[in-house]
Each structure stands twice: as structure tokens, then as C-alpha cells.
Symmetry: C2
Subunit: 273 residues, 2 copies
């Protein structure tokens, strides 16, 4: 299925139909310093699952392990429905290039979201509205310029040197929208869950070498919920708990402007500092 909106994000995450093997390609528009933006890779994999003829239900959980760099160009997605029952599906996807080794390994769970007791104990992160904040300036990584980041707290200051005597806060609160507005869907939630700047950049105030190793996102809204929110941006928070022996963590939340928790995410990332 080709993109229907003409949005760069849909172009960047486009896949061509297959049965067990799908095809995609990296996008110059969503490029990080040494490879494609991990969020775009994750969203492309999720798109292949969403568009798969055997898909049933809505995304519940997705884990993406970034095993090796992805070179610019085409890639293959080996998509496998590992197990299905009446209410859920378990998928495994391997991304390869040129018949070579696996560059990205992902698992995903889809589920029928049936009505239930509902409770949202997490507090909505209050803050200045989107319209009252300035967009974060453009940077050299093209992917970041596809997003409109508006920081409420924890505006990046990458002027530091490592090691510092006093680490800075790793916490950020910010609005994230596509720079060209695009309605929030499962694909953009998946991508935005990897769209936080590295926590180690915030904590050290320096752009040290960095790479996400494993990313897990849980979806707390289904398609009906997202349709009801009808928004083009999320209020997002991210923080870290520890940086130790070359790896640090991140945990984050993506909220609708109305105060619904749409997704939670966690990742562990390599850094050199």
C-alpha cells in the first residue's frame, strides 16, 4: 500500500507488499549521524505488520533491537507470525540488506483491545501549551528537522565537556509533532518514542557518541482512542535512571494534549564518555 498523504514520514516508512518478505528503504529525510533514524526504522517495521494481510488487532507492544548499522538504500523485512490466538498475535521481524546478516531484530504483539475497567494513575505532565513555546532550532541530523520539538523543561544545552563534576538533569518535557503536521497514529507514536535526544547528551551536556541498542514501546490506545484524540502532537516526557559502564537507560511517556497516556517507552543505549 503506497502512502496516501504525501507526508515525508509516510514516504520514509513506505513498504512494498510481500507475504513473508517485505521491502523498504532508508530515507535521507530521516537520517541520523551514522545511519537511519531508529524511530523511522521501527515505524517502517510496524507499518509492514499493520499492512500485513494476516494482521489482526492493534499494536500492543513492540521491541526493536538495533543489531548493526543499516546502509543507505533498500532493505528486506522477513516478517513472521510466530503465534496467534483469538485475541493476540506475536510477530518477529528481521531486517536485512543484500541477503546479508540481520541489522535489526524486532518483536511485536498485536491484540484485540476489549472494554475493561479503566484507570490512569500516571499524572498528566502539565506545562505551557505548544503555541506559547518556540520550536527547537534545526540541527545537522535530518530526522530531527522533520519534527517540531518544543521544550517545556530540559531544553538541550550541549555546550559541556565530559567528564563533568556535576551532571545535569536527564529529564525533558516537550511537545513533539511532525514539522509538517500529521495526525498521530500508531506509526508516529512508534517513531516518536525514539525521538527523544539521548539522555546522556542532557546529563553530560555534550554530544558524545551514542546509539540505541534496544527499544520497547507499549501502546495504551487503540485506533478508536487515537481517532477520538484527533491530534497532531504529543506532550512527551523522558528521563534516565542510570549511566554505567557504557550503557544508559531512558524511560518516556507520550501523552495526548487532552491528557490521555498514548504510549510508554523505554530503551537502553550505548554511549562513549
Amino acid at each position: 500500500m503506497l502512502a496516501r498523504t504525501g507526508h515525508l514520514f509516510d514516504e520514509a516508512t513506505r513498504v512494498t507488499a510481500g507475504d513473508s518478505r517485505w521491502q523498504g528503504q532508508t530515507s535521507e529525510d530521516y537520517w541520523a549521524f551514522v545511519g537511519p533514524f531508529g524511530g523511522a526504522t521501527a515505524a517502517t517495521i510496524l507499518r509492514a505488520l499493520m499492512e500485513h494481510p494476516e494482521r489482526a488487532g492493534t499494536p500492543l507492544a513492540m521491541t526493536v533491537n538495533y543489531c548493526a548499522p543499516i546502509a543507505p538504500g533498500d532493505f528486506d523485512l522477513d516478517v513472521r507470525l510466530v503465534k496467534a490466538n483469538r485475541s493476540s498475535q506475536h510477530w518477529c521481524v528481521e531486517l536485512t540488506q543484500g541477503g546479508g546478516e540481520v541489522a535489526t531484530l524486532a518483536t511485536a504483539v498485536f491484540a484485540e483491545r476489549r472494554p475493561s475497567w479503566t484507570h490512569q494513575p500516571a499524572p498528566f505532565p502539565q506545562g505551557l501549551p505548544f503555541e506559547q513555546l518556540r520550536p527547537y532550532p534545526r540541527i545537522k541530523a535530518t530526522w530531527a528537522n522533520q519534527y517540531d520539538f518544543r521544550f517545556v523543561e530540559g531544553t538541550p544545552d550541549f555546550s559541556g565537556t565530559v567528564p563533568q563534576t556535576e551532571p545535569a538533569s536527564a529529564y525533558s518535557k516537550l511537545w513533539i509533532g511532525d514539522r509538517v503536521p500529521r495526525k498521530i497514529d500508531m506509526l508516529s507514536l512508534m517513531s516518536m518514542s525514539d525521538a527523544f535526544f539521548g539522555r546522556v547528551f542532557h546529563a553530560t551536556r555534550a554530544m558524545v557518541p551514542f546509539g540505541t541498542v534496544s527499544l520497547t514501546t507499549y501502546f495504551h490506545a487503540d485506533a478508536d482512542d487515537l481517532a477520538a484524540e484527533d491530534t497532531t502532537r504529543v506532550l512527551a516526557v523522558a528521563d534516565a535512571k542510570i549511566f554505567h559502564k557504557s550503557y544508559g537507560d531512558q524511560n518516556g511517556e507520550l501523552w495526548s494534549p487532552n491528557g490521555r497516556l498514548l504510549a510508554t517507552t523505554t530503551q537502553i543505549a550505548y554511549f562513549k564518555a
Copy 2:
């Protein structure tokens, strides 16, 4: 490699050597209401990786997707090293029984943990010491009786009915040790990261039908760090952010008594309420 300590946990998570296919078996000592305790399953898979002749480095991240019930008895573990480089390994493991479909699908990342800038922004959860607290009483699920749970906050009260007008707190702080003390290692951290009672039990105060669907744990200590801590218990906290349309999340931390964050964990679980 056979268990050397004679501890029930080592017996329950025992695997027999293979190359790509390993064998394990469920344990009556770590049984939940409708299948094996998910933490024991996760630890058994991790043990197969730890003991694998090609394993290099220390566990960094593990995701376990519980696809289908596991019947009492033997199971096979198809263990595959998906990608390796000088500093990390990516594994994929499928648990099957009797040549049937996949019951559990796991991915794991191992890494060389090199010295780096270190910072632990997460606050150590203060509380009464282990010795001053009473063990939680035994319950019908055998797995829980293998652990010595001592609640600092959020002692379970499962006397409620669903739906309630006022949900209770989903937060817990507790010490977790093996009931027969056993030194904390990667395997027990993996298992303990699934040893919290379901958050929905706390929030609804009722033992509703419940099952973990996907569990992700990050390890923030390597073997040297654990050896230095030299402890048989962790101080653990867990909380939930949302329960919605039959699924709820959990996030948790496992701390050494000295104040080192050993592991962080998150999961999404099915519930009926």
C-alpha cells in the same frame, strides 16, 4: 552444566546443553495458577544463553513475549545468535513443546561493559530494613512461596471487588529475596523482575484474571558489580501508569541494599476486570 548449589531456583531453571537446541522443563516449585511462573521461564532462557559456548559479554537487555501457555513438562529452546560484533551479541530464543508452536519468544542483548562516565540519577528508595519487616504469608501459587517478600509500602490487600469507585495505589516497595537465600545473579534478577504481584491486583484490590504478555528487563550491573554487592536480596519498587481496554503496564526497579540500581524492568499484562 548442572546446578551446583542445589537451590530449587537452579533446579527449576536447569537446562541441558545443546548447540542450537537446548532442553528445559517446568518446575512444580515455580508454578503460577495456570502455568509456570514467567520469571522462571525467563531465567531458564537466560541460563541457556549464559551457558551457551558462543556467549560473550554480560546480559544487557532481555525481552520475553509470552505467546501461549506452557504445559507441565519438558520444553525445547531454539537458541540463535542473530548477530554479533566485537562488543555485543543479539540472540533470539523460541520455546516450544513437543515440536509444536512457539509458546515463548525472547530476544536478548549481551555486551562487553567497558568503564565509562558513571551517573545514577535515580533516587534509592529508602525504607525499613529487611530484618525489621515480616515476610509476606504463603499463597496458593507455589512460585511466590519460593520468595521472601517483605513489603515496605503497598502491602497487598486483595479483599476488594471490581469495579471500585476509588482505585487503590498500584505502587509497591518491597524486599525480594529467595526464601532459601541465594546470591543475586543475572538469573535471579531476571526472575525477580517478574516477581511483582500484578499491578491490577493492587489497584483493584482483587485477584482478577491476569497474565504478563511482554516483559523487558535491562541489566545495569555486570558480573563484577554483582560480585561486589554480594547480596541475597534486592529492594524493589513497582508501579503502573495505566490500565485500559484489558491491558495494563508495570515499571520496576531492583536495587542492591547498598544503593546500586541493578536492573530496571517493564511489562504489559492482560487483565479481566
